[in-house]
């Protein structure tokens, strides 16, 4: 899982898959929980799997089954599901400069979750153009399949799994913050960026502690962006921070 570029197009698939492995620590336990909760809410195992396959967006899936189980109007269920996923709007444009000409890319956006975005945003600029489609496909496919597989596992034997390996369900999800940390650490390139990123991390954590998990990501990012725009340290070199950062 070295940050060096993959050496051939066929290896790019495998590199993408291997670099997405840390995501599984976060995906599988959450997917198992989703499968379990969906069946407890009255969905069959294959219906839970269908939801994970088609919608493929963690938090909004929990909301979807929860609202359906509570008897909410279906138009409201759909509206709330989409509202939670609205933060994904900024993901694809951020990757667009590194996407090669291919008709596959639009369809591959189905796999553009928070985690795949974070990984791709860091890795695609480092890869040769010929490797990017394969790398992204491998990473996104592994994440998608793990989400579907985890849901099936949770729907079928989730209760038993949670009872037997409760501690593993608490430990493995730490792979996600660890991965995000590795992806965000190289961005601390100047005082201005450090302040904006630090404020974003703290406000996201604070909003989550306050129970506002669904709005924490976009709100915290907007806080950080405002901080970046408002705070200047008087160094002309930092004026080009936003541009320079994108080239790293």
């Amino acid at each position: 899982m070295n940050l060096q570029a993959a050496s051939s197009p066929s290896r790019a698939w495998l590199t993408g898959m291997s670099e997405a492995v840390p995501l599984l620590g976060g995906y599988v336990p959450v997917a198992i929980s989703f499968g379990l909760i969906a069946t407890q809410a009255g969905f069959s195992a294959w219906e839970a799997v269908a939801i994970s396959t088609l919608i493929y967006a963690g938090a909004s899936q929990f909301l979807f089954v929860g609202m359906v189980a509570a008897g909410a109007p279906l138009w409201l269920v759909v509206a709330m599901t989409l509202l939670i996923n609205l933060r994904h709007v900024v993901y694809a444009p951020n990757l667009a400069p590194w996407l090669t000409p291919s008709r596959l890319w639009p369809w591959l956006m189905h796999g553009l979750t928070d985690q795949i975005f974070a990984l791709a945003h860091a890795r695609l600029p480092q890869l040769p153009a010929a490797q990017r489609l394969g790398w992204y496909t491998g990473a996104a496919l592994l994440a998608w399949l793990s989400w579907i597989g985890g849901t099936a596992l949770g729907a079928l034997v989730g209760g038993e799994l949670v009872a037997r390996w409760a501690l593993m369900g608490e430990i493995l999800p730490f792979a996600l913050p660890a991965l995000f940390l590795v992806l965000v650490a190289p961005r601390f390139t100047s005082r201005r960026w450090s302040l904006a990123l630090g404020l974003t991390i703290l406000s996201a954590l604070l909003l989550t502690l306050l129970g506002l998990t669904n709005v924490a990501i976009p709100l915290a990012a907007v806080c950080g962006a405002l901080c970046f725009q408002l705070v200047k340290f008087g160094h002309t070199a930092e004026r080009k921070d936003a541009q320079g950062e994108r080239h790293e």
């Binding site: 900024v90 400069p97 660890a178 998990t213 994108r246």
Partner: protein
């Protein structure tokens, strides 16, 4: 599931895909129109700012332990430090994550 519920699932799936897909098509058209040598120059500055900041926000949200108590917060702090330390030396993706999970797990198993 009833037919109405299936329609709700399909509408949510199609809507989510469009949320991820349409901004890509917009950006690709913008890049094609500008035909700049440096495709990054064509990206609005606010958008390029939001990319890294969204990842930072994801990190902040994910720091919340599954069961928040003193031990899991301590484990989170030690896991973060272990991840950072290994990243500092190795500059890879996999080893820092493995070290972070191992450190987090060790604290949870010893003190939890």
């Amino acid at each position: 599931m009833s037919n109405a519920l299936w329609i709700a699932v399909l509408a949510s799936a199609a809507g989510t895909l469009l949320i991820r897909l349409l901004p890509l098509l917009w950006m690709q058209r913008r890049l094609a129109r500008q035909a700049s040598d440096d495709r990054l120059e064509a990206m609005p500055q606010w958008l390029s700012l939001l990319g890294p900041l969204m990842i930072a926000a994801l990190f902040g949200v994910s720091l919340m332990p599954v069961t928040p108590d003193a031990v899991s917060w301590l484990a989170t702090a030690i896991g973060v430090l272990a991840t950072l330390a290994v990243w500092w030396y190795k500059r890879t993706l996999g080893w820092p994550v493995a070290a972070g999970v191992a450190a987090y797990g060790a604290v949870m198993m010893l003190l939890g």
